[in-house]
């Protein structure tokens, strides 16, 4: 058995920091490679020239001013949920419940619009909506956080289950408040009175959302990088034991951070109901709670880079939708393209964090000692 004396073909070691320029060059390369693969796949499926496919993707996002606004609106909503889940992730607390927390925020906002419409003036309804959605989101995240802090209950699985409880709760209220009767849907709430609809800024329907999310983004950047809370979050995330040793109350940090996370998800739900859709359906959040996990992780939990990663995903989603309609494909094609891009980016992280050393033929003397 002289096989044992042989060095392996390659071995892997952890890299030191490689600097953000090279790191982002690797990620950019992965995206380009993925786009190339996607182009090839799309032209195989549709039989179109790949350049036309890329043109269609671009057209889907920037084809008209309306499309640009829709892109920005989707971008801001995805960014809002991503920003919300980020502090929890930074603490290594996997909040996969962004979907449910945002949805419960939607539910709270819609409840205020429906139940208070005959009792309160418009400004009071909007105030109630803001308070109740943010509170609802916070409670929805606070329940798993409490059990995580107190009994170390697995938060990944707990928050995941809370999503579906929220979905069913919304389905329940969709039937309770259905209009017209028997349709099982709520439809547009207060279509004539516009009670509880957020004011529009000028002629731009989506501008309010975009501004709110921009403020949240700046807040989150400052909160994570320049505040005492942010510092505590990173210490807990790096090593819980160290955090305990230096006197950080880990339980409190976990609950506080999850409450913040849920509150911001609730805010996303509030914007979806109050400002964009004015309705309530069980699928209103459109899986953003799950996409947000990927957005946040791809940006390494940095709120500024998150603008870029959420743009990438929204851009692709819109582009794939355009391809689907142009070439008569089914709209799920977009999910396949997004999946492929994600696989490439996820894989590329390896080359940022690790280094591969190949066996060289001149190393024979070394191997004898190993």
């Amino acid at each position: 058995m002289n096989k044992k004396n042989q060095a392996p073909l390659f071995y892997v070691s952890k890299r030191g920091s490689i600097g953000w320029v090279r790191a982002w060059a690797v990620r950019g390369g992965a995206v380009l490679l993925a786009l190339l693969v996607n182009g090839v796949i799309t032209s195989l499926v549709t039989g179109e020239n790949p350049l036309q496919v890329y043109a269609a993707i671009f057209d889907g996002s920037f084809g008209s001013s309306r499309k640009v606004w829709v892109l920005l609106q989707n971008l801001s909503m995805l960014l809002c949920v991503s920003l919300a889940v980020t502090p929890a992730f930074k603490m290594r607390c996997w909040n996969l419940g962004g979907e449910g927390q945002a949805l419960i925020g939607c539910l709270a906002a819609a409840a205020c619009m429906i139940c208070l419409r005959d009792a309160f003036p418009n400004w009071a309804i909007i105030l109630c909506m803001i308070v109740s959605s943010i509170l609802a989101g916070a409670v929805w995240a606070g329940i798993p956080a409490f059990f995580k802090a107190r009994f170390n209950t697995n938060e990944t699985l707990f928050t995941l289950m809370m999503n579906y409880v929220a979905t069913q709760l919304v389905s329940y209220y969709c039937v309770v408040w259905e209009s017209p009767k028997g349709s099982g849907q709520i439809g547009i709430i207060n279509p004539n009175t516009h009670l509880g609809w957020f004011p529009q800024i000028g002629p731009y329907k989506y501008l309010l959302n975009i501004l709110v999310v921009a403020v949240v983004c700046v807040f989150m950047y400052v909160y994570l990088n320049y505040s005492k809370h942010g510092y505590e979050i990173s210490v807990v995330g790096e090593s819980e034991r160290t955090a305990r040793y230096v006197g950080i109350k880990v339980d409190r940090v976990i609950i506080r951070t999850m409450l913040l996370s849920g509150a911001l998800c609730g805010l996303a739900g509030l914007l979806l109901v109050g400002s964009t859709n004015h309705t309530l359906t069980p699928t209103l959040v459109e899986g953003r709670g799950f996409t947000a996990v990927m957005v946040s992780w791809l940006a390494k939990f940095n709120p500024v880079w998150m603008i870029l990663t959420s743009f990438l995903l929204v851009f692709l989603g819109r582009g794939a939708g355009e391809i689907a309609t142009n070439f008569g494909l089914n709209s799920s094609f977009g999910d396949i393209l997004t999946g492929i891009i994600l696989f490439f980016i996820i894989g590329s992280e390896f080359f940022i964090n690790y280094q591969i050393h190949f066996r060289r033929s001149g190393d024979k003397e070394d191997n004898a000692h190993v």
């Binding site: 892997v12 070691s13 952890k14 996997w94 996969l96 059990f147 009994f151 170390n152 209950t153 697995n154 990944t156 699985l157 707990f158 995941l160 289950m161 809370m162 579906y164 409880v165 069913q168 709760l169 389905s171 329940y172 209220y173 969709c174 039937v175 309770v176 099982g184 799950f290 996409t291 996990v293 990927m294 992780w297 791809l298 494909l329 089914n330 799920s332 094609f333 977009g334 999910d335 396949i336 997004t338 999946g339 492929i340 994600l342 696989f343 996820i346 894989g347 992280e349 390896f350 964090n353 690790y354």
Partner: protein, 329 residues
């Protein structure tokens, strides 16, 4: 008033996809991999089987031989879900990527894959309905013992299912035995609990993770196939599979990582899933939506209770969700 004789077999049929999904996921999680891609993998398994049998039915329009009609979809399904499992392993074990993110990406991809190819096949078949119907193949899958109807209640409760249902139960029991009673199972659990220790003891951590995750994916993929071929009578329509994949993950927690408990628990979940159709609620349709919440709420309760009681054998594998790198301390 409550018709158990029709309710129970329906609950079992509902439960089998969950059983297969959760058995696969338990095997995967025991190796320390939290595969959140299971919902996507079940979609891929289902659509791969549908693609296989679709073309087989087309090639033989005047009647199918039973054996290939069953083996072709199963083979395609296993192959499709194996590939997804390999992809997951390559990213998380070899490239040490984050498991949650990889899993969610696989789910996005898998659901898209299923719906896209489902849509394409519908176009190919040129039918007006938004579904693919594979009755001939489904009949082969659903064939039960010829004397099952003659045995009355016993026959209906125990013998009225297609063969995949029995295979699912056998797989779950075998998995439970392997995990609990064999050396391989012991080593697999060691990998999931503490890969460092396992590695020091000379266990090939990477290989165990690969094999367990790929086998788990294939089992879960069969769950998707069972849903289409048996439960849905060979009818594929997009998104019909719904959130059953997540329910399978819930079931893993509910059974505290034991596939043998999963056999009965999956029937319970199946029953809870369809309970709303059997509850006499009169005109109040809204309450039905609340009944659908039951499996998730019960899972949360179990999750909380096991963590409060903190019994060591009921905990999730200790290194669940963490990538393993030998040089890291």
């Amino acid at each position: 008033m409550f018709d158990f004789l029709t309710f129970l077999p329906r609950a079992v049929v509902q439960g089998i996809p969950l059983l297969l999904g959760s058995t696969g996921e338990t095997l995967t999680e025991k190796s320390g991999n939290l595969n959140l891609g299971i919902p996507g993998i079940m979609y891929v398994g289902a659509i791969s089987g549908v693609i296989g049998s679709f073309f087989y039915e087309r090639a033989n329009p005047d009647g199918l031989a039973a054996l290939p009609a069953v083996l072709i979809p199963i083979g395609c399904c296993l192959l499709g879900s194996l590939l997804m499992g390999l992809l997951y392993c390559f990213l998380t074990v070899s490239l040490r990527a984050n498991q949650n993110v990889t899993g969610l990406a696989i789910t996005t991809f898998g659901v898209g894959f299923g719906n896209f190819f489902g849509g394409s096949l519908m176009k190919l078949s040129g039918s007006e309905l938004p579904s693919i119907i594979l009755t001939a193949t489904s009949n082969c899958f659903r064939r039960s013992l010829p004397f099952a109807d003659k045995l009355g209640a016993v026959g209906k409760l125990f013998l009225s299912y297609g063969f995949l249902a029995y295979i699912a139960v056998v797989i779950a029991l075998v998995c439970a035995y392997v995990l609990k009673r064999t050396r391989t199972g012991l080593q697999l659990r060691a990998v999931g609990e503490s890969p460092n220790t396992a590695d020091a003891a000379g266990i090939n951590v990477g290989r165990y993770k690969y094999v367990a995750t790929c086998a788990g994916s294939m089992i879960a993929g069969l769950g998707g196939l069972y849903y289409v071929m048996d439960y849905a009578s060979g009818m594929w329509s997009n998104n019909a599979f719904g959130d059953r994949g997540w329910l399978a993950i819930a079931l893993v927690i509910f059974t505290v990582w034991r596939p043998n408990i999963g056999v009965l628990a999956s029937f319970l979940f199946g029953g809870l899933y369809i309970l709303h159709m059997y509850i006499p609620s009169g005109m109040n349709l809204a309450v039905k939506e609340l009944y659908k919440m039951a499996p998730y709420v019960i899972t949360i309760v179990v999750l909380v209770l096991t963590s409060i009681r903190n019994k060591r054998e009921n905990q999730p594998p200790a290194s669940l969700g963490l990538p393993y790198f030998r040089e890291e301390r």
